[in-house]
Structure formats: C-alpha cells, structure tokens
Symmetry: C2
Subunit: 156 residues, 2 copies
DNA sequence: CGAAGAACGTCCGAGTCAAGATGTTCTGAT
DNA sequence: ATCAGAACATCTTGACTCGGACGTTCTTCG
C-alpha cells in the first residue's frame, strides 16, 4: 500500500460519496486493528454482536439481510466463526432447511471483550465532536443508511 | 442479493463503523447507478475528475495515493479508461519511467456530463439536510477521513 | 394426497482486489 | 564514471466477493 497524501492536498473535488467512503475506510481500519487483537475480523465481530443480542432468532438469510451482508459472504464468515468455536449452526427442529446460527459461550465471551475494546475505539472518535454534532451526524448517517432497496456491493 | 431489512428493525447495536459503511454503501450505489449511464464506474469518474482538475501533473502512483486507490487497482482502472479512449498515458520526456495519465477531449467531455449528473444526485442527498447540518456533516467526515496513515482495504 | 412454487443453505465460476516480485530508469554518493 | 539504492509502472499470485445455479425442504393450492 502506498503512503497516502494528507487530505488537504486536493480539497476541490470532495463529494459526499468520496468523503463517506474514505471516512468509512479510516474508521474501518481502526476497528480492524482492534478486532485483530482478538483474532476476528470486524465483520466477524459484527456477526457475533448480532447473534449475542438477538438470541438465535434469525436464519442465516435474515441475518445477512439485516446486517447488509451478501449471503455467501455471511456463509464464509460463519464458517470461520464456527471453525473457531465461536458459533454453532443449530438445526431447527421445526424446519429442517434451517440451520440457525447460535453464539457459543466462548463466542459470547470473546464478543464481550472485543465489543468493549471497540466501544473504546468508538469513543475516541466520538470525542472529536460535541454532543450536538454527534446527534446530527448520527441522524444523518441513519438517514443515508436507511432504505428499502438492496445494495449492490457490500464491502462491509 | 437479498432484500435488505429496513434499518429500524435492529437499532440497538449501531456503531459508527457500521453506519458509516452502510451509508457509504447506499450513496455509492446511487452514484454507481448514475455513472453506469455513461459507461464508467464511480471510480473511473473519480479518476477522470482528478485528471480533469489537475492537468497531468501526477504520476500514476501519486494519483493513486491522492485518491486512496491501490496502485494495482488504479492500473486496471486506467487500462479501462485508456481502452475507452478517455485518457492517454503520456511518456514523460523528463523521466522515462513515468507515463503520466492525461485526460483526452473525449474524456473531458464525458467527465463533465457525468459530473453534472452526479452533482444532481449529490444535491438530492444534500437536500435531506439543512445547511447547518450539512456543514457539521461535512466537517465531521473530513475530520474522520483525514489522516496521515495509509489505509488497508480501499473499496473506493 | 400430489404437484407447483417458494425458501433455505450451499456450491461454483467469473470478476475484483491488493501484496509482493520484476524490470527499467533515475538519483546520489563515492 | 560507477555502483547502490530508490522510484516508477507493470505483472503475478493468492485471496476475497458476489451473482447465479443447485439440492433439499416446506407450503399452498388443486
């Protein structure tokens, strides 16, 4: 990877799209550094978090749709998490097609630790702004992020 | 691609990282839809825009660093643009290693049209917010996007 | 019942991305 | 002048993404 220019060098053409992607890139990198210490990807942590808060009520497809992950991408992520013993795919007695992902105790443990660490990272970002600014930012991001239509490329 | 859940279904765990990525995803998709009408990717448009505003003063490496693109990714993008006759790689008489990317008249033409169309799309997003909000959002994104350290994965 | 269609998880293949290696050219120090 | 090292563009390689196809299972309707 090349050394990136500090941003001020090219201020003329900053459109929302580029800014958003770049910001997501940066924040994502900070998150990735943190989750790497726990041996999971940010996506893995995201999945674990969802499973921890939402007790095995979701099929793999629903889970992927909720998190904005492609089904095959979620598959390989679940494979990794399962191999690491952090989740289990539990057959649904009611519907034999379904193999509900369930977080294990080990997974819950790790998720809690990683989640706390990430909260710290996130707080560092939040502290760059006032409370009022954060409220605006949050509302704006939710506004932009929300929407019914499925999205093409994920990169989550 | 699966139908995505409307966002409100899972509000508990929205961290900045996820919101940013999702927002970037959505806005990026809107931009991609628009640029597709002109036969280029958003990334292609980004490169053209940079070249149009910055008259062939950058090597490929510098250009990639400025835009946050990996050198190999930029390479293949330049290949496409060159094949489409939108740019040229001009040998630098001063330094035979360098093949400076230059936008062609055709490229400039297309960039202008696509740029106008994208400005329209962007305005639609801006109109969701007040002027004061936009100022906050813009400052916040610049704050987050800025930074010296190179970033791992691009996805731009 | 039985058949048609939908939903689930999985697999496959084309396309994309980026780290590292390579060959050429430039620069700076001896 | 020459040699070592850096910079540039390119190529190679391995991993990842994602749309689409597949087999199984469920549901609905005749």
């Amino acid at each position: 990877m090349e050394e990136q220019q500090p941003i001020p060098a090219c201020m003329e053409k900053w459109d929302i799209n580029w800014l958003l992607h770049r910001a997501a890139q940066r924040v994502g990198a900070a998150f990735a550094d943190e989750t790497a210490k726990f041996g999971v990807s940010p996506r893995g942590q995201l999945v674990l978090q969802a499973l921890a808060n939402d007790e095995g009520q979701r099929t793999q497809l629903k889970l992927g749709a909720m998190l904005g992950l492609d089904k095959t991408t979620l598959m390989s992520e679940l494979d990794k998490l399962e191999r690491a013993g952090l989740i289990l795919r539990v057959p649904d007695p009611k519907d034999r097609r379904v193999r509900t992902p369930m977080i294990t105790d080990k997974g819950r443990e790790l998720q809690k630790q990683a989640g706390d660490a990430l909260a710290e990272v996130e707080r560092a970002f939040r502290d760059r702004f006032t409370r009022e600014e954060m409220a605006v930012i949050r509302r704006a991001l939710i506004n932009l992020a929300d929407g019914e239509a499925p999205v093409h490329g994920s990169c989550l």
